[in-house]
């Protein structure tokens, strides 16, 4: 959504620049705010209300966009759960951490639960050995551990994000 907003803003700026450059080329001798413009504004009572409405709409869109960004950032970084469910999730996160740590080739893991009950997200940062079978790890985590995790915390729509990194063993690489 955000990228679409940027694209629309970019298109709007390009269209405005096209209009300005066309005026620069074809109406070079006229003033930017000439008599014709003033007469047009004076002759049409709807001009200022329409301009005001357009400006207000732009301001509302800008504020909505800022709020949406704030919300998305909060959902990605904070756990917005309360009371019993938060405790349940913390326990499940600890169990998931232990389970993934016990898998072959895993050196370290950090699990973070963020979002709300309706938009939950779990982030796993997994540090593996160079020889670890990442395909197998991904399958085991995705098809076993995360399925159980979703059941325990009662959130079937949970989205999981896995970031793999490998342990650095300098002496082995030429």
């Amino acid at each position: 959504m955000a990228r679409r907003g940027l694209a629309l803003a970019g298109l709007a700026l390009c269209a405005t620049s096209g209009a300005v450059l066309a005026m620069n080329r074809f109406l070079g001798g006229r003033a930017v705010l000439g008599e014709g413009t003033s007469d047009f504004i004076a002759g049409h009572v709807w001009f200022w209300p329409v301009v005001t409405a357009l400006l207000a709409m732009t301001a509302v869109l800008g504020v909505c966009w800022l709020l949406a960004q704030g919300r998305a950032a909060a959902l990605r970084r904070l756990t917005l759960l309360g009371g019993r469910r938060k405790a349940l999730t913390n326990e499940a996160v600890a169990a998931l951490t232990r389970e993934v740590m016990g898998m072959p080739g895993v050196h370290d893991v950090r699990v973070r639960f963020t979002g709300t009950r309706s938009r939950p997200r779990v982030m796993l940062q997994i540090l593996c050995h160079e020889s670890a079978d990442l395909g197998l790890l991904l399958t085991r985590i995705g098809e076993d551990s995360l399925v159980r995790f979703r059941e325990v915390i009662e959130m079937p729509d949970l989205h999981a994000v896995l970031r793999f990194r490998l342990v650095y063993q300098e002496t082995r690489i030429a």
């Binding site: 803003a9 005001t52 082995r172």
Partner: protein, 200 residues
Amino acid sequence: MGETLVTELFGDSARRREARRRTAREFQKERTAAELTVAFAMAACGGVGAAEALARRYGHYLVPYEWTERLNTGLRSLLWGDPSVELAGYLLWTAGMVLLLLAVLPGHARLELLKGDDPAVSAALTREGLRRALADAALGVPVVEGVRVRVGWKIKVRGYVPRGTPPEAREPLRRAVHARLEEIRPQRRRPVVVRLGRRG
């Protein structure tokens, strides 16, 4: 039965496509600074403009009168053909193109997105991690003593073997690298170039 199989096949490929799309979106680089700037500029310019227009309607001023008057006089004396108008046009065009490029370019923060069948799971490996995993696979081949791996548009693997090793030793090295790539399953398919270097 044939019909069921076809349905399953299409269902699976749709899930894989959805998983691929969601993973790409998940690891897409955020354009926070650009978005904040544009959103703030829209809110500020739109808000001040609308408030000033309303204030004028009821005989008040929000922006100091001298400022608007100076702007008014300036615009009345400025011609469309003035070089500053042309410069402003090109600046607007540049800003628009920058925003469009920021919106269109993927910018995947040096990560290799991994293939998956479940849209609810997105996974990625650092590009450095992929390089190290391939180096580890190459070093698993008995005759290889050292290795250099580069991951760019192509994956280039140079295995260092003792002098006198026959060129056929390239084949097990190639198989080891391909087998590791099959395990990792990166989304992006690159040509793999395997070469041997002699040592000693």
